[in-house]
Subunit: 408 residues, 2 copies
């Protein structure tokens, strides 16, 4: 039997991202920007909002006209005009005067603040009493207070959330340059694997990995491309891999990554031009029999055929590489939920374990409950809400320890 | 000026989900199942995996043949056959015999367990020494151990994650019935709002909400449909709303939801057939001027035109309604990150505040840093990683309190 070689820790594996460049860019409409990654800095072409706006319904005025005003001694002002939303005031507010204004309305020249309508009382059509003083710029947003002209508001490499999509539109960009969406090829291998619409027989199992991996690729905002099921035949695998490398930006080969008699992934990789194996074996459980190769600038993964291992490796190792080739710079905060472990967990030293857990609220406390069942059962992933990571240097975790869970 | 009426708390608002039915179903291919919601229970048509499989490379045997085996006193067995992956053993394993097997391979009749190759040594081609005993079913997955025939494995209303997509495929379902994806109409209103490709002038602001709301709708796995910008004109708003109600499953009207002179959303709703307003005003900040109406079975929201308020209300109130009409039953765990507040925060009683915060790791501790700046500034949402909720009964939070943050 062959042996694993170049076994690496998860940290060492993640370091290998540097071996790969990010993808090229493309130009898209801002309405499609959600979940994309900025290829260039976005700067404000002009001030935002661009004029002094009211943030309350009330009266626009010069703050000094209200100084000393109180319930018992209100300030008394003439109402010079009413400004409706969208109006451009064509007058200068005179000293001692106020203009009625709505939230979002534009302040006239001469006004520096807004007094809330709740702190006023209209005496008649043309005059108002003010019961509370305001400071300059109170209840207004100044012309460049959100963003000033020429300021870089979003850096290259930034993930575009809904609020960034709104801001880019608000800055007047109808189109923008973003990194391309990675296409990820999936090749399922194994003589025992049959298509999901084939009648199953003894010794055969349906192709789960093509579908779960496609789901994980979608979840990571990338595009799965399936290359079907290939038998354990190096020539057929080589043909499929070459096609996938031609058409996609990253390839996942499910199965054939271990050291058994029919594990041909390493063999096949050695026959592809301009391709080198970066590691074989990763010191995590489940998921040890994993291969990463570099073919040109494209990562090629040999993933365990075992369904749970394939999922865990995708989540903890493949996703960071996908983010990297997508151009993502600022990592979003890793989504973890903290809770209290409900029982002791043992773990082998020198290996990082990912234990499937479910989250249960009990007496207002988050409980982290390990999912029982053999590691190879897909049911453990179905019942799980997340993965609990146990480090290489830890022999196990005691009941009641506070732990962080990576959500699934 | 009009007044808010039927002001509700967030809990009261969320209770109103019951007023609405979930959408109809459609049949899709399992490859497209990720992020959909199951319309029917999924049951296993047969056992999974369906036969007894090895989870390790080694030798399949009857466990009792290994009892008492140790390094110093190994058990000695004849090797009856070698089973390759995908093979269907056409023999019965005889007592005292073993069959060489790979991970995933099918055990022959007569074998109930697998001894790992690491605990064996091949003596010659036909015999092997076993250094460790195994228990029945050790290192195997039994025929129905993942799921048994006719067992309901996934209930109606379940969100399909990548692992559920894989399982459904593994059970042999090429197609499945899921709830339709909600289409959500967006109508942007306001005389001050201009299209993003129009030259901005004083008093005008570009249409941010159509784009940020579209992003939030995508993030919630629904489909945004934009109906453009409508001036503050009840007749035009009514026409746009009727069209949106015709074509979509939920409508968001951005702007016109407050109590100002040009806030026509309530007026317009009163003129649409079979439509009743469920509330006007929600006791949260930002976001008070919010309206929910029921038109037939469709929720119609009047959202604040103020960009930050619109985003917060979408996230905390609209998303749960979207999940509801999508048919989602088991809520996934709410994604919250716990951290330590870096400064005192005040809050008005009787109102639920959503403070924008950023997350910063410091000395291995998660810090929750409130984002400074006026509530109306979009920059506060851009700099924020999440929202910190401060309840109605709380006057404020002290520095160093442990708090949970809803991720943005």
């Amino acid at each position: 039997m062959n042996q694993f070689f170049k076994v690496k820790t998860l940290e060492e594996v993640l370091e290998l991202r540097r071996e790969f460049f990010a993808l090229e860019s493309e130009t898209i409409h801002v309405k499609d920007a959600y979940s994309r990654v900025l290829f260039r800095d976005v700067a404000a072409l002009s001030d935002l909002p661009g004029f002094r706006r009211a943030t309350m319904d009330g009266y626009a005025l010069a703050a000094d006209a209200t100084f000393g005003a109180s319930e018992s001694s209100p300030a008394w002002l003439n109402v010079q005009a009413t400004i409706l939303m969208g109006d451009v005031p064509d007058f200068v507010l005179e000293p001692g005067m106020a203009a009625k204004i709505s939230t979002g309305g534009m302040l006239p020249e001469g006004a520096d603040s807004v007094v809330m309508v709740e702190h006023t009382e209209a005496v008649d059509e043309t005059s108002v009493e003010i019961y509370k003083s305001v400071a300059p710029l109170q209840n207004v947003i100044d012309a460049s207070e959100d963003f000033a002209q020429n300021q870089v508001v979003l850096p290259r490499g930034r993930f575009i959330r809904p609020q960034e999509q709104g801001l880019i539109a608000g800055l007047g960009f109808e189109t923008l340059e973003v990194y391309q969406i990675p296409k990820v090829g999936i090749i399922s291998t194994g003589d025992e694997i049959i298509a999901i619409n084939e009648p199953p027989g003894p010794g055969k199992i349906r192709d789960i990995n093509s579908y779960s991996l496609a789901g994980f690729i979608r979840e990571a905002h990338a595009i799965p491309v399936s290359y079907g099921i290939i038998k354990d035949d190096p020539a057929a695998m080589k043909t499929a891999l070459e096609k996938a490398l031609e058409e996609t930006d990253m390839v996942l080969i499910s199965g054939g990554s271990s050291v058994g008699a029919k594990d041909y992934t390493l063999d096949v990789l050695s026959k592809i031009v301009d391709t080198q194996v970066l590691f074989h074996g990763i010191s995590v459980s489940p998921g040890k029999p994993t291969i990463l190769a570099k073919s040109g600038n494209k990562p090629v993964w040999g993933l365990p055929g075992q369904v749970v291992s394939a999922m865990v490796v995708f989540k903890i190792a493949v996703v960071p590489f996908l983010d990297h080739i997508k151009g993502l710079k600022k990592q979003r905060p890793r989504i973890q939920v903290r809770g209290r472990l409900t029982r002791n967990l043992s773990s082998a030293q020198g290996r990082r374990d990912f234990v499937r857990v479910l989250l249960e609220e009990k007496d207002g406390q988050q409980q982290v409950v390990p999912v029982l069942g053999k590691s190879g059962l897909i049911r453990t992933m179905i019942f799980a809400d997340g993965l609990l990571e146990i480090g290489e240097d830890v022999e196990g975790l005691e009941k009641d320890t506070l732990v962080d869970v990576i959500l699934l």
